[in-house]
């Protein structure tokens, strides 16, 4: 076979069509979810508030997908699949504090999406989103705090590296001011001793709480198989479309850290559910961040 003169390898055409692209992860995901459900891995203890919040979150995702240029049908399919395949299994855990959990999901989604689209068409809005979400993340679960802190720090680096955002402290002020205000509100009042105020789960950020136990990883991967496949499919899709970048990398680091936290026990405040949340919500955000139209069309 003459490799030098052979035509370049191409992916099957349907996969490259923008509208058809998301079919791959969705189809794979649904397949695995159904398979897992068949073997009884589906936890069926559903709290009404969790159900409500999960459907609300998926509804918002559907709106976001459509506002980003996806068709009505595909937005609905993706959101439904996200609901049944990803969020519902996660949210069916009995010990869940629903509002905080889904608040954390929204923060991870918003930050990942903003980081992924930053600099494509918009600069200021992703910056404002990330700064605001970082401020809110102070009140969120450990996984959201970890994601928010890591993404905002990476965001700061990217801002300094690639964009004109003033002097370094100007950039820092623009990204971290809301978080500082939120932290001041919490710690200032605690210091004054006037009220018992919510305490952020910052233990997830402290490295000395992490005790690596390599043997626990396969168990996590097996338990979160569907979420991993979904996430991998999204990353693969972004790779194929040459859209993979800093946000994907950030999310992989976050997931890695969360897995470390999850296997390190309760001292970190991170559990398997947090890993699943980041896989599902982060993957969804990366999927939303894919341009609805190919680059050359957008340029036209």
């Amino acid at each position: 076979m003459d490799l030098a003169n052979s035509p370049p390898w191409r992916l099957p055409k349907p996969l490259l069509k923008t509208e058809d692209g998301p079919a791959l992860p969705i189809a794979l995901n649904l397949l695995f979810v159904l398979a897992l459900a068949a073997v009884g891995n589906w936890q069926t203890t559903l709290a009404p508030d969790s159900l409500l919040l999960a459907s609300g979150l998926c509804g918002l995702w559907r709106i976001h997908l459509q506002s980003e240029g996806r068709s009505w049908a595909w937005s609905s399919v993706l959101a439904s699949a996200g609901f049944f395949g990803l969020l519902l299994p996660i949210s069916s855990t009995p010990d869940l504090h629903a509002l905080q959990f889904f608040g954390g999901a929204a923060i991870v989604y918003g930050m990942t999406w903003s980081f992924a689209v930053f600099g494509r068409d918009e600069i200021l809005r992703p910056l404002a989103n990330i700064a605001f979400l970082l401020g809110v993340a102070v009140f969120a679960p450990a996984a959201a705090i970890l994601s928010a802190v890591l993404i905002s720090v990476l965001f700061f680096v990217v801002c300094r590296w690639k964009f004109e955002t003033g002097r370094w402290w100007d950039t820092a002020l623009l990204i971290f001011t809301p978080a500082v205000f939120a932290a001041l509100a919490i710690y200032g009042l605690r210091w004054l001793g006037l009220r018992s105020v919510y305490s952020p789960e910052i233990s997830a950020l402290l490295p000395n709480h992490y005790v690596v136990s390599v043997g626990s990883f396969p168990a996590i991967i097996t338990q979160l198989y569907a979420s991993f496949v979904f996430f991998a499919a999204v990353v693969l899709l972004r790779l194929i479309k040459s859209e993979i970048g800093r946000a994907d990398l950030a999310l992989m680091i976050i997931i890695g850290l969360l897995m470390l936290g999850a296997v390190s026990g309760k001292s970190t405040g991170v559990g398997i559910r947090d890993v699943a949340l980041c896989l599902a919500v982060g993957g969804a955000a990366l999927l939303s961040a894919l341009p609805a139209k190919p680059k050359h069309e957008a340029a036209l």
Binding site: D121, E122, I123, L124, R125, L127, A128, A131, F132, G135, E164, T165, G166, R167, W169, D170, L173, L174, T177, P178, F181, A182, L184, A185, L189, L192, L194, R195
Partner: protein, 660 residues
Amino acid sequence: MSPFPQPDEELKTRAAAAAAGAGSYEARGDRVSVYQHSETAEEPRFRIGELLVEAGLITAEQRDEALRLQKSWGSRLGDIVLAMGWVKPLRFYETLAAHFGLDFVNLIEQPPDETLFMPADYGTYAQHLFLPWRKSAGVLSVATAEPDSQDLRNYWRGRTDVCFVMTSKFDILWELQRVAGPEFSKQAVFHLAHSNPQHSAQQVVTRPQKIVGLVGAIALALTFYWQPLWSAIVLNAALNSTLLICFLFRAFLCWLSCSENTGMKITHEEVQALSNADLPIYSVLVPMFKEPDVLPILAGALRRMDYPRSKLDIKLVLEDGDYETIQAAKDLALDATFEIIRVPRSQPQTKPKACNYALRLARGKYLTIYDAEDKPEPDQLKKAVAAFNRLGELTACVQSRLNYFNPEENWLTRMFTLEYSLWFEMFLPALDRMQMPIPLGGTSNHFDIAKLREVGGWDPFNVTEDADLGMRFAALGYRVGMVNSVTYEEANTRLGNWIRQRSRWLKGYMQTWLVNMRHPLKFFREVKSRGLVCLHLFVGGAVLSGLAYPFMMIPFIIWVITGTSALKPFYPYPVFLIGITNLTVGIGCLVYLSMLAAAKRKHWKLVWYALTTPVYWFLHSVAAYKGLWQLATNPFYWEKTVHGLSKLTTVEIAQAASQN
């Protein structure tokens, strides 16, 4: 016999003009029949350009340049040479009279017979630059500055007892103001109050509003008498909640404006695509009061505008007793694009009244207002025309963005710049995107002049006539758009001056809110829920936050820090939560939104200063209370903002004076 050529003759005339390839003045010599009653009528021998060169008024090079500009601008050659300042207007009009075979009259020396003036036609005289001059032997002599004007012909069509004499445009405007000035002045003050009293702030508070206010005050007093603690708690919670909603609304507007797609963008290519020949006459009003020093800067800024100068109708609107500024304007010997309008003395002595007066003399299709120290971006007028073309028929106004050219002068100018950036880069474009009414900024608002006249012009009794006009446009079904062009102004450098200006603004906002709340249901039907939200949260919210900020925050902060038991009963847990949210979210919003505004304008050095926004808001509160006091005691008083205090302005004044 008609004094005008018959249609076929007119066609021939136009054809001849087209064939000659020249402007209208010089190519219509065969229309001598128009001037049949003039004893000196004779057929012009040359084109006006040749005549001007022959008379030594312009050089051959200037004539050639004027002809070149004529092809590009589509204006008459005479307008071009006047606009370029190459010839003295008096000499030009004398030459033009000779060209058309008309007598030239100096209206100052030979004033018109005022009894011939028709008050209902004052506006027409101003628009089309003619006046009935004198009547003799049954023949009416009409003095005109544009003898070839189609409008002039239309107006006098069918009249055989009319002849024409030539005069200058400035003589006409001068005499018209002398005769019609009192009437114009009266209309400028009372037109809106008489034609549309519901929208006039002449009456500050209406009787039903007084009754509602009184009943509310009595009810509040009674509840405080019977249940002082619970009344204080409910009032506290209500005010805190309202403030929180206002803060969140502003944060949402800011978030919208963070997008690159918010606000209309007219590109450089769109501006370039506009044909100069198709551009309409643009009126520019510059109301001034005791600002002689900044006149040279203004003249320079307006001369730099990228717009055919022959199509600019710039009016320096000066108060009759302001001799210094009038003299300074005369001393500058500005070209014929500039006209001086002297507004007769009357009360209230406000900028909107002066603008209303000048509106009656404006000849443009569009009109804009600049303050004396303004520096608009040169392509602003063209961008406004492009915006009107794009936005469609229902657009009454296009607002440009305002910012400051001296942000780095002191803390106050930095904070003012941050605030203006927030206002014009974030809030107003977001209101535009949400199709909410836009409270207009003080200057650089570009109007469709017909619609401006239709709504009755500005309210002279409202001291933020611009914001009021924005709401009135919305109530009458018109749209206001934002355009991506900036006018740079001088930020206040002195605290006293800033307080004066801000107290006027907030007093005007109070007036605007009260005017629109006279008939809340009617207003709601007119502007729908979006307009109502804008009025309450944006206009009312600005006043309320200024008034309530110290009242809400200081006791709360004292209680949080000292834990004094005297205030504790007023802060049960729900109120505490709202209070703490206000304290952190509200102040955080104020600070962070200012940072974002600085980032949007790329004022990076100001980001840091946004941290001092809470202090700036205390000044805002001082001004709010002053405004409230004035609303009660002196509602129509116009707190004059002194311009020209900036160091940069001082330098520029010297430079501009040397150039002029």
